[in-house]
């Protein structure tokens, strides 16, 4: 195929794509206009029905909880995949690498970086925990909280504490936490089935005060489980990559 032909094919495809895009954009509702009834209905009934004032969380973990289970298992499968491939690559070097890393002098992090990382670690843990446990009251949720909690571990790593990073996030523990988070979410749903309710129905007491931390039944519980799962999944992936970087650094020097 000559270059001229290729350009011709590309231009025809690009023109078709542009035409379809413009056609689609022309048919969109006006800026800021929401045409569907669903959101308006949810806005009216969600707080009264779930006692959760964080309506987005009520949608994520209750009304559309089934979608969230699916997303949860996408992340679960991704983390499991990364762990499988990278751990297989390491093979039998694994234990010796860990031992070699113990004797290794870590490349020094600058004082400024270490101070900043250590200063942020505590606040990040508090904020992550807050987000993971307050999905029912305000804009937050397990996903955001879980990622932030992982960030705290990354800060420990950035502070030059590679070995401490490994000690506070041992592989077995992250594996178990990930499984407990993902499995717990699914189990909350299945428990509803056992009680004769639809999957992921909110069967826990909703509490008497809308917006209280103890309100909203399964929404708060699922948010916490999602936080555990997401935090563990990211920690597992980052931990594997850190080990890989160490492993190769070890081989290189």
């Amino acid at each position: 195929m000559t270059e001229r032909w290729r350009r011709g094919v590309f231009l025809a495809g690009a023109a078709g794509l542009a035409a379809l895009l413009l056609w689609g954009l022309a048919g969109l509702p006006g800026f800021g206009r929401y045409p569907g009834p669903y959101g308006d209905i949810i806005n009216r009934i969600a707080v009264a029905q779930t006692n959760a004032t964080g309506v987005v969380s009520a949608v994520n973990f209750s009304y559309r909880g089934f979608d969230t289970v699916g997303e949860e298992f996408i992340l679960f499968a991704a983390a499991a995949g990364v762990a499988t491939v990278l751990r297989h690559l390491r093979g039998k070097d694994r234990i010796s690498t860990r031992r070699a890393a113990l004797d290794r002098v870590a490349p020094p992090a600058s004082d400024a970086l270490r101070m900043a990382a250590l200063a942020f670690t505590g606040p990040v843990i508090v904020l992550g925990w807050f987000l993971a446990t307050h999905a029912q009251t305000s804009p937050s949720g397990g996903f955001q909280g879980g990622v932030l909690l992982t960030t705290a571990f990354v800060l420990v790593y950035l502070a030059g504490q590679v070995l401490l990073f490994r000690r506070v996030s041992p592989e077995d523990l992250t594996d178990i936490a990930e499984a407990v988070g993902a499995g717990g979410f699914a189990a909350v749903g299945v428990t509803a089935l056992a009680l004769g309710l639809p999957y992921l129905s909110n069967y826990l007491p909703l509490g008497s005060t809308p917006g209280a931390v103890s309100s909203s039944g399964t929404i708060a519980l699922i948010s916490l489980l999602v936080g555990i799962e997401v935090g563990a999944a990211f920690l597992l992936i980052i931990g594997e990559l850190v080990d890989q970087a160490l492993l190769v650094r070890e081989g290189g020097t």
């Binding site: 308006d40 806005n43 009216r44 964080g54 987005v56 969380s57 987000l131 804009p139 937050s140 949720g141 996903f143 955001q144 990622v147 932030l148 992982t150 960030t151 990354v154 990211f234 992936i237 980052i238 990559l241 850190v242 890989q244 970087a245 190769v248 650094r249 081989g251 290189g252």
Partner: protein
Amino acid sequence: MTGLLAVTTPYTVPAGVMGVLQAVLLVLTGAGATAVVLTRSPVRQVLVLSAYGLVLALLFMVFQAPDVTLSELAVGTVALPALLLLTLARVRRREK
């Protein structure tokens, strides 16, 4: 339906100001995405991408989606760049 949303608090930003903020952030989003694409060095690209994540987070904020803002902050400005940097470190070590 709009009556439900038109609540005025001491913290409410006037609609005109909000419109300007939204326009500015939409332009910044376009410029930021272009900057990410045009950055050639991988490590620099990750840093530009991280800054672009912050712009996206602000964009979601002014479009009244604080939940998405938090997700974007956590994933776009921290987790994704960290993963990419670690991967780059891994690849570079191998190349040496």
